[in-house]
Symmetry: C2
Subunit: 295 residues, 2 copies
């Protein structure tokens, strides 16, 4: 499998979905819809949405019918980036090689564009009903996403991350940040795909554990790339974590041990997929790719 090509194919499907589920850029008032599209179509790899599709695929469900769920996850990811980049938060000027939303559209519009994407994500999840899913399942999926995006997930991680700047965190605190700030959405992305594909208890539990390990491995390798990568490759300023004294794995464990920790999580993720057949290959390659990025 050429994983990057497979990912790109899924990203294209997701981009088409996003374009369809969002109001057009010209919809009144245009400024907010332009801001939403500027950030949402800034060249994200659609990894979260692709994992939603891939989890359902591993269980034999076709991609297109769960597209609203994949798109909703990407909207939430995009909202969280817009708000994270705000001057009052991480104060970042570049994201994926482009000026951040608030630099282009102003702070007020950026705040509202984030709010709008979060809101649109839930409206988009409701569109699963057009794909003839049981309404009960749709409510379960909406709850899963809302909890993952809330203070027991994404927002909780962001709060603790901001609180920890400039301090040396304990390993437990660092794990809390990563499991929540990055991990919660990966976990929800995979679980939503699995739930919509009617995963039985064993499959759901294996995919959930895969997602948690994947999310940790993703964040650990992201920390490494921030430290060792360059601006062109990353599309954002490198060594920002260091400059802001962010809680990171390399800062706590050093480079060598951090690489080992990433490899350990990837192994864990792959083990959890042993009960699945070849249809889980995209999920497997996704985990392997994380190690490839830092090799």
């Amino acid at each position: 499998m050429n994983w990057e090509r497979e990912l790109a194919a899924r990203a294209e499907l997701i981009n088409e979905g996003l374009d369809r589920y969002l109001p057009p850029a010209s919809y009144y008032p245009p400024i907010i819809h332009e801001a939403i599209r500027y950030s949402l179509f800034a060249g994200g790899k659609r990894l979260r949405g692709a994992l939603t599709l891939a989890a359902a695929e591993a269980l034999g469900m076709k991609q297109t019918c769960i597209l609203p769920a994949a798109c909703a996850l990407e909207m939430i990811h995009s909202y969280s980036l817009i708000h994270d980049d705000l001057p009052a938060m991480d104060d970042d000027d570049y994201r994926r090689g482009k000026p951040t939303c608030h630099l282009v559209f102003g702070e007020a519009t950026a705040i509202l564009a984030g709010d709008a994407l979060l809101t649109l994500a839930f409206a988009t999840l409701c569109r699963l009903k057009e794909e003839a899913f049981q309404p009960e399942l749709i409510v379960q999926v909406i709850e899963e996403v809302a909890v993952a995006a809330g203070t027991k997930g994404l927002i909780g991680g962001q709060v603790v991350d901001l609180e920890s700047e400039g301090r040396t965190p304990t390993p437990d605190l660092l794990e809390y940040i990563h499991l929540h700030k990055t991990g919660a959405l990966f976990r929800a992305a995979v679980r939503v795909g699995a739930l919509l594909a009617q995963a039985d208890e064993q499959a759901l539990s294996a995919l959930t554990e895969y997602a948690v390990a994947f999310g940790l491995a993703f964040q650990i390798t992201d920390d490494l790339l921030d430290l060792t990568g360059n601006k062109v490759l990353m599309g954002k300023a490198a060594k920002r974590d260091l400059a802001k004294q962010k809680a990171t794995y390399p800062a706590l464990f050093g480079l060598e041990r951090t690489r080992e920790l990433a490899a350990l999580q990837v192994r864990k993720a792959l083990q959890r997929l042993e009960i699945f057949d070849a249809r889980a290959e995209f999920l497997r390659e996704a985990a392997r790719y994380l190690l490839y990025r830092i090799s």
Copy 2:
């Protein structure tokens, strides 16, 4: 009917619900849950939530089972106030007589508290399933709320309001702002109550028109109070609209004509309730109360 007492009774029920549906203030990380509760329990009258309860009541449904919906509407209202008050938006220091969220907890936490309340609103709507509503109806309600809170509702109104500062708006533009910034959430509040109470088409359409007229009357009378009220009564600085050259009815039409426009909308709202019996009395009194506030 002593309307203020009836409203207070509903507010108490809603406050109990909010306390139950929210993580406790001590839940980790406590700072965000403290910020959420600080703003949410800052003494709001719970008018939107009460209208949700009252719309269902007008159709003979008891209050308690639709409490999650009433609470979700109040969470969204509270999130919109926290974000509106931010320095990049309206830059307000006081709300309901207390320092605004970002003054007490800092801007980053205030942004995240707003995000969290919006997210929690959708998680709370999912709890309607505990009240044995049809999942199909719950999805319909979630979609109704998401659309009302999005760029075709609340956020659209906020964008145009910010864009219009310092300019003289046309009457059409002013109506757009009010119908969206304030009106969309009132409309959704009433419609959600009606939908959950299985309103037939005629009742739903009458209640929707009631809500739109009520929302306009509310905003017009709010504009009047901002101009003529005082800080102690309002709990926020008076004449802020004037200072910020906000688009308002009095600025466009003068005091006298603005009072007439409010009375006109209240009459319209009351007319729409003519098909209902005594159980719609709370809705009727709510509309009459708007005129009492400015008399």
